[in-house]
Symmetry: C2
Subunit: 120 residues, 2 copies
DNA sequence: ATTATTGTATTAACCGCTTGGTACAATAAT
DNA sequence: ATTATTGTACCAAGCGGTTAATACAATAAT
């Protein structure tokens, strides 16, 4: 899964989101050890400082914790991960629907578009 | 309709999008005169330079044109506006669906969520 | 004719993000 | 014991976006 970082938004924010999706979708399992800051930075083609900043945010929010010198680990609180999943999904819906309506599409048109696009 | 500008992305980009939505949804009709740069900037609580930059982009793409001292006008090319609408809607879909799937939701779950959320 | 308004251009300053470079303490690996 | 790896911290430089302040020419409004 590429990182798909663009220059429109702060990179560290995009990394936070990317890793949140990785946690929710199970790319990193609960309790699993993460690659080192330097390795993650290399994979993402980003400066280690930038990766560090993203990881600090995720740590501050409790999605991971660092063990000084042995590495960094995903939380084992599966309930918290489930909540994150719900929160991210809801956020997507709440961005998507109002924008589609603001474009002048009716609820039916939106539903049809989604239904159509989801098949292929 | 508030402008809802956040600090995550360049303001001028968000203004471009906001005005595109206004054009597509008919807030500004084809051929209609826009408020002055300074007025728009005041309404959006933004520096005139920033508003000017957004308007220049929209002008470069042909969605409006300025008449030196009499003001700035929305294009009368309704076909172009329709295309913009389609393009924006498609872009929303193409962002929304992959993200929902990446969260681990099945196509059915996504459809149900949309269907559910659209009713209320 | 005079005044106000229009779009436009320019410059300096500030701020946040990013990078590159360096460094350190703690501990795992050898 | 020595070495490598870990997270972490710091600083300087560069860059893009934003603001503020001015200015100008063209023309609409008076």
């Amino acid at each position: 899964m590429p990182w798909n970082l663009d220059s429109d938004r702060p990179i560290f924010v995009q990394i936070v989101e990317h890793l949140q999706y990785d946690i929710v979708s199970g790319v990193y399992a609960p309790g699993q050890k993460l690659p080192s800051v330097r390795d993650l930075a290399a994979v993402a083609s980003v400066n280690p400082n930038t990766m560090q900043r993203a990881l600090s945010e995720l740590e501050r929010d409790g999605y991971m914790h660092s063990e000084r010198t042995s590495g960094r680990f995903i939380t084992e609180d599966t309930h918290m991960i489930d909540e994150l999943k719900t929160r991210l999904a809801t956020a997507q819906i709440n961005e998507f629907l109002p924008r589609m309506e603001r474009l002048g599409l009716t609820k039916e048109e939106i539903l049809n578009l989604v239904e159509q696009s989801i098949k292929e």
